[in-house]
Amino acid sequence: MKNLSKNTRNGLFLLIGTAFGFLLSRAGATDPAMIGKLLLLQNLHLLWVIATAVLVGGVLNLAAKIWHWRSLATGQPLSFPHKPFVRALVPGAILFGIGWGLTGVCPGTAPAMLGEGQWFVAVILVGIVIGTWLVGFVQHAWHRHQQRQRAESVRAS
């Protein structure tokens, strides 16, 4: 994205986000009742939405890798950065799954739901910010604790 100015880049993401929010809404992903029916396996509409999205995205990614398609912004072949296997991956995924299962809302659908005038999501958005902040807080406290322990073991030896 080096070739894009900051404003162009932000505007571009605003547009892509608008399309994404519109699609999430039309897909039914912003309807908690639909999420509830998905998780109780009563209506698999959203499962097929996700499966089609992954399949279509996967085929396009594969084609881009095989034929070295170049990014418009960088002029370089597309990058496919895999997310790392962090230690908190599984416990985090479980906690997120519980929150998602209890409310029928996820971080991507929440802003779209607020845009639709589902005002209760404002509370959930505040919760998501607090939850995110807690990760930063606990991580920092943990690192400081480890540093202190290391310093003490150096002093003891």
Partner: protein, 183 residues
């Protein structure tokens, strides 16, 4: 394949009619790839809440790190876009500010009292924010983006959050039925 010409206009309008799953899914898949092609950045939503923490003034190292620095504020603009997309979708079919559909499960599960309900949503939100940041992504970053790349960590994360959400809903449904709150 439906060749009825009103089918196309119904994609844009039509009150509570959803797009066929494969149409919405394929469009999301193309959009996710389109973003990669245009910007060379993967699709994702939950990381933007880290940028929000930084912008709200948190000095914690996680939010001062490269992933959430000011040069990645396009993540926040993406969320603003999602908000506008939801607004556009609801205005175009007249569902703006319509009461949410909670369905049988969530209607029975949520507390009746307003203050308790706010606490319930806040708790749910905290779990979502905490869990997705710990796991490094959510349904969009790990599933739509990561699984489509065949990224092993994303496949594991997706399996666990789908499993946990499924189990949570199933257990809640079972408890509500056992106590007679849901019939």
């Amino acid at each position: 394949m439906n060749t009825d010409p009103t089918w196309l206009t119904s994609l844009w309008q039509s009150a509570d009619a959803l797009w066929p799953a494969w149409v919405a899914g394929a469009a999301i898949g193309v959009l996710a790839f389109g973003q990669r092609w245009l910007t060379d950045q993967p699709l994702g939503c939950s990381a933007a809440f880290g940028n929000a923490c930084a912008r709200l003034g948190s000095r914690l190292p996680l939010f001062q790190s490269n992933a959430h620095g000011t040069h990645t504020d396009w993540k926040l603009w993406f969320l603003v876009g999602i908000f506008l997309g939801g607004l556009l979708a609801s205005l175009s079919n007249g569902s703006f500010a319509a009461p949410s559909h909670f369905g049988d499960l969530y209607t029975a599960l949520m507390p009746q009292d307003t203050a308790a309900r706010i606490a319930w949503w806040l708790f749910g939100g905290v779990m979502i924010g905490l869990g997705s940041r710990m796991a490094g992504g959510c349904t969009s970053g790990h599933t739509i983006n990561g699984v489509a790349m065949g990224s092993p960590a994303s496949i594991v994360a997706s399996a666990f959050f789908f499993g946990a959400a499924l189990a949570t809903a199933q257990i809640a449904d079972w408890l509500l039925r056992a106590t007679g709150a849901l019939s």
